[in-house]
């Protein structure tokens, strides 16, 4: 038993808290795996300090946090590379400590110090942290923690831009199909944030990487996995039909191979997928400047398409009326295309 006056006193100021966290995280390196007891003790120390940090950042349910302390702690965590330590040590921490960390991370990133988001800036100059978080989707134990931290980062356009253009971005196409639904759906939700949060960033990215991106995306849309098909189709509507991406959309609807994908999805056995596919298919058909190849495909398949569309109904209230109206227009347009001379079919 130790006497209380031998124990270091509980850190109180933001500087002390930041230092205590850094020291206790660094101490984890010194302990070897063989020294189980020592490691356990070191982890306990980290957990204790995280509790103090959390209390300082969000209050304890009874008292509100002191904003000045919050912003000072954010500053201190950047100054001493505390943020990097937090990320790198996450995998060896215990269950509750990880959750505290995620919670604190979210508050720290949003913290403004002298008009700048110092923690976001810190991440911006330490991009490897973002790569680390992305790759962690492969580690089931920490995937959900890292996913939440990533989404906090993606709120900042510059950080989202980095991830989109990084080599690790392609990994998302794999992560969204992981067998664990909880991990896969979390990865999907991050993927969605990346493609929808910042219009201009996304539009620039899609313009520069059009072919690679849509090649990969086609694989999602044609995946044998129902959840992947349904979610990726819905997401496509979410970003493709948004104003900043209108030039991307105009390019997309000229391509016969994408039209074919939509026609496949119109025939899907899931009604939800059929309806979502219709909302993209209709743009191909309604395009006043349809290329010849698109017209040919529509004309060749007009009977099947008309029948398919006639049997399709959205099935509820106001949405239904609009859907029916659009459907009629699209069926008419396909009819018109079919009657065009010189299509050679």
């Amino acid at each position: 038993m130790s006497f209380s006056f031998f124990k270091p006193s509980r850190p109180k100021t933001p500087q002390e808290v930041a230092k205590a966290i850094n020291d206790s995280l660094t101490a984890l390196d010194i302990q070897t795996v063989a020294e189980v007891k020592a490691l356990e003790k070191a982890l306990e120390e980290v957990e204790k300090n995280f509790g103090i940090m959390r209390c300082m950042l969000v209050g304890d349910g009874e008292t509100e946090p002191n904003m000045e302390q919050v912003s000072q702690l954010a500053f201190e965590m950047c100054k001493e590379d505390g943020l990097a330590l937090l990320v790198h040590k996450l995998p060896i921490l215990g269950w509750e400590a990880r959750k505290d960390l995620v919670h604190c991370w979210s508050v720290l990133l949003k913290q403004k110090v002298d008009d700048t988001y110092c923690c976001a800036q810190y991440v911006e100059s330490h991009y490897e942290l973002l790569d680390f978080l992305v790759v962690s989707y492969d580690n089931k134990e920490i995937a959900l923690n890292c996913g939440a931290m990533l989404r906090d980062c993606i709120r900042f356009p510059i950080l989202a831009k980095y991830i989109l253009e990084s080599a690790s971005f392609v990994l998302f196409f794999k992560f969204v199909e992981l067998p664990n639904f909880d991990v896969a759906s979390d990865a999907f939700s991050t993927f969605k944030d990346l493609l929808t949060k910042h219009g201009t960033v996304v539009s620039e990215f899609l313009t520069a990487h059009y072919d690679e991106f849509f090649d990969l995306y086609e694989k999602l849309l044609t995946s044998p996995n129902y959840v992947t098909r349904r979610q990726s189709l819905k997401l496509l509507t979410d970003f493709l039909l948004e104003p900043p991406n209108s030039h991307i959309m105009k390019r997309y609807i000229l391509e016969v191979r994408f039209l074919k994908v939509m026609m496949m999805l119109l025939k899907d056995s899931s009604k939800n997928i059929q309806i979502a596919a219709f909302h993209i298919f209709k743009v191909f058909v309604a395009n006043p400047n349809k290329p010849r190849e698109v017209k040919v495909i529509l004309a060749k398949n007009h009977e099947k398409l008309t029948e398919l569309l006639q049997n399709l109904s959205a099935g509820k209230g106001d949405e239904d009326d609009q859907f029916e109206e659009e459907k009629e227009l699209i069926i008419k347009e396909i009819e018109l295309v079919t009657q065009l001379p010189n299509l050679g079919c």
């Binding site: 969000v58 209050g59 349910g61 009874e62 959750k99 959900l144 067998p179 664990n180 909880d182 129902y226």
Partner: protein, 346 residues
């Protein structure tokens, strides 16, 4: 020694499980007793038909994540989740005695004794304190979501509507959505005026205490719209039946403390855990002896209740107009996927 053994790995393929009988049902999900073949362990599997979930799957993702990330002896945790064609399977521990609602309906129609209630509620409260400290509001606390296993352990379940306060914005922001089951719903949730916070769960907890004491929630025989109006207009319900005299003063105290209309005046879960009422709490073994003894298997009870329900609706077909029919049915079952049109109320 269990502590040292490596964490069990539940397989992520539906072929590794055998589904047995139905033990629960919701709007778009069915719960089965099942066997995990490679581990030779009985589990419960919630099978959600994703095709019936019209909107995007964010709600479901959150429910599953909550069940995976929270870790407390009084919360029902998910072992794993995966998809099998169009359905989502969530594998959970099997709670052989079922929910307190089911137990009451089949063996204790007038509610439980005070020691059992204290024991059950103590577990629920510890779960709520943990949830709240992690920034979650449960939003659907009721006897139907309090599960008991064969050893008498109590676990709060169903995070289908639970919301995370931390998801948007960093601090303890109030939520502004309308979910829950009307009988258990706090006045501020119904009013949708200022948003609500953890304290909404404390109200529902108080209603649940009454439910366990009487065998049904207050106002449960009225249609949902009427419940809304009664909760808003009447004085809070309490332990004031004639036969409630058997209950202790501390029980009445705790119920009254939770059922205060002003959420600010309700105590926190953390504070309530220490209430003297819980001196009446007993062990798991006590629960097994007093309320689980002689119960027939969950699957059989579930089938019987389903039959009773069907008969009830067949009998009362003409009582419930076409328009309200479906929601009325779901309401009586205690299913919580409610969409009120509040404009109708004003």
């Amino acid at each position: 020694m269990e502590f040292l053994s490596p964490k069990k790995k539940f397989p992520l393929n539906h072929r590794d499980y055998t589904l047995y009988e139905e033990v629960g049902q919701g709007v778009s999900a069915t719960v089965y007793r099942a066997l995990c073949i490679p581990l030779d362990e009985t589990v419960a599997i919630k099978v959600i038909d994703l095709e019936k979930c019209n909107n995007d799957m964010d709600m479901i993702r959150r429910e599953v994540q909550t069940m995976i990330l929270l870790d407390h002896p009084n919360l029902l945790k998910a072992h794993c989740s995966f998809t099998a064609t169009r359905s989502l399977w969530i594998v959970m521990p099997y709670m052989a005695a079922g929910s307190c609602l089911h137990i009451m309906k089949s063996a204790h129609p007038d509610g439980f004794d005070e020691h059992s209630i204290a024991t059950l509620l103590h577990g629920v409260l510890k779960a709520l304190a943990y949830l709240h400290s992690h920034g979650h509001i449960h939003r659907d606390v009721k006897a139907g979501n309090i599960l008991v296993n064969s050893k008498g352990a109590v676990k709060l379940a169903d995070f289908g509507v639970s919301a995370s306060l931390f998801d948007s914005g960093n601090r303890l922001h109030s939520r502004k959505t309308f979910v829950g089951t009307p009988c258990w719903m706090a006045p501020e949730v119904m009013q949708q005026l200022h948003g609500y916070d953890f304290k909404a769960d404390i109200w529902s907890f108080g209603i649940t205490a009454l439910e366990l004491a009487h065998g049904h929630a207050p106002f449960s025989k009225y249609p949902p719209m009427k419940v809304l109006l009664m909760t808003l207009q009447n004085a809070p319900p309490g332990l004031d039946y004639e036969r409630d005299k058997r209950f202790s003063k501390s029980f009445k105290e705790i119920v009254a403390a939770c059922l205060v209309k002003d959420p600010k005046k309700r105590p926190t879960a953390e504070k309530l855990v220490k209430h003297r009422f819980f001196k009446h709490a007993r062990s798991k073994e006590f629960i097994v002896r007093t309320i689980l003894d002689g119960l027939c298997p969950l699957g059989d009870r579930f089938r019987m209740l389903k039959k009773k329900e069907a008969a009830f609706f067949a009998q009362n077909e003409d009582v419930y107009g076409d328009k309200e029919h479906l929601s009325q049915q779901e309401y009586i079952r205690g299913i919580s996927a409610w969409n009120f049109n509040l404009e109708d109320l004003k």
